[in-house]
Amino acid sequence: MKNLEERSKQYLNPYFGGVLLGLLLLLTVYITGRGLGATGAIKSSIVTAVDRVAPTYAENQAYYSKFLSDDHHPMSNWLVFETIGIFVGAFLSGLIAGRVKKFRIEHSPKITPKTRLIFATLGGMLFGIGSQFGRGCTSGAALSGTATMATAGFLAMMLIFGSGYLFAYFFRKLWI
């Protein structure tokens, strides 16, 4: 019993996690015909917000209007629901393993929490911009794209990790 309890606090064996994730991806493709994603929901909520605040601007601007249509609300999107699910699932997992705690910041001892937050925001911002260029993020473009053998997905995977290694040296203080 104690063994089981201890194990529930551990992370999954990474390969086991990978097989599960692969099977989930396969199931997703089997059911919906496309892969998993994450940034799509953020895009939808931004489009909705901009449309609410400045409807004429949103309609006339090329990128927003791409995702606006009369019969279809941008938030009633497959990815929005999927993203809500991600939060719920992660919270469940964290709850079971006892990892859910009040707000805390994870950082290398060499930097202050403030520095970490600044870089987290900057990183998020870059990732946001990059994901639009790449037409998907790590899960949407790289993982799902590679699994469905799209050239773009394969390229995205190589480039994300490649440029990560390229820049790793300059940001080593953040992590080690």
Binding site: R7, K9, Q10, Y11, L12, N13, P14, Y15, F16, V19
Partner: protein
């Protein structure tokens, strides 16, 4: 926090995955029919007219009961009884893809017997002929002119005109001229 070291669940999940695939491969139902010839090959054989049998030859083969030709009447049994090419067998169109038919056809293929499909007209038999061609039967012909022309030919027993009537795709009229006449009337 560390990762679980024990790969038991990993092994289990991977084995389940492999089992799904193995079960899938075993239970996979093979399609009964599949195309052996693509449309380019079919079109080629249509254009070089190798699959057409003219009625004069058909009469000749049918009367001497040539064993290397078998006539397949795809009309319904009623029409077949009313009249058919001598020694023709009757496979109604609806039965064309049935197991028995396939067995019969395969026997003819083994015996190197040419199958000649016919119905009342060439158009009526055309679909079946093309379908069988696409399914990979190479030694299969269609009777041009159909049974209508064949029976008429037998009755009248006349000399064949310059451009035989059974080449239905030759224009019978000068359409442009008729159209002009129609407007002047």
């Amino acid at each position: 926090m560390i990762h679980a070291k024990n790969p038991r669940r990993l092994t289990l999940s991977l084995i389940v995955f492999v089992l799904i695939i193995i079960v899938g491969l075993i239970t996979m139902n093979k399609p009964e029919f599949s195309y052996k010839n693509n449309s380019a090959q079919v079109l080629k054989s249509i254009l070089n007219k190798e699959g057409e049998l003219i009625p004069e030859k058909a009469i000749f083969y049918a009367e001497e009961n040539n064993p290397s030709f078998v006539f397949v009447d795809i009309r319904n049994p009623y029409e077949y009884i009313k009249g058919h090419i001598p020694n023709a067998i009757n496979i109604p169109l609806t039965e064309l893809l049935s197991k028995e038919t396939m067995k019969t056809f395969d026997k003819y293929v083994r015996d190197k017997t040419t199958i000649v499909i016919y119905a009342n007209t060439q158009t009526e038999a055309n679909g079946s002929w093309m379908l069988l061609k696409q399914l990979g039967y190479s030694d299969i012909k269609v009777l041009i002119g159909g049974f209508e022309y064949y029976s008429k030919e037998l009755k009248e027993n006349e000399k064949v005109p310059e451009t035989p009537e059974y080449f239905v795709e030759t224009p019978k009229y000068d359409f442009a001229k008729i159209a002009k006449e129609a407007s002047s009337n």
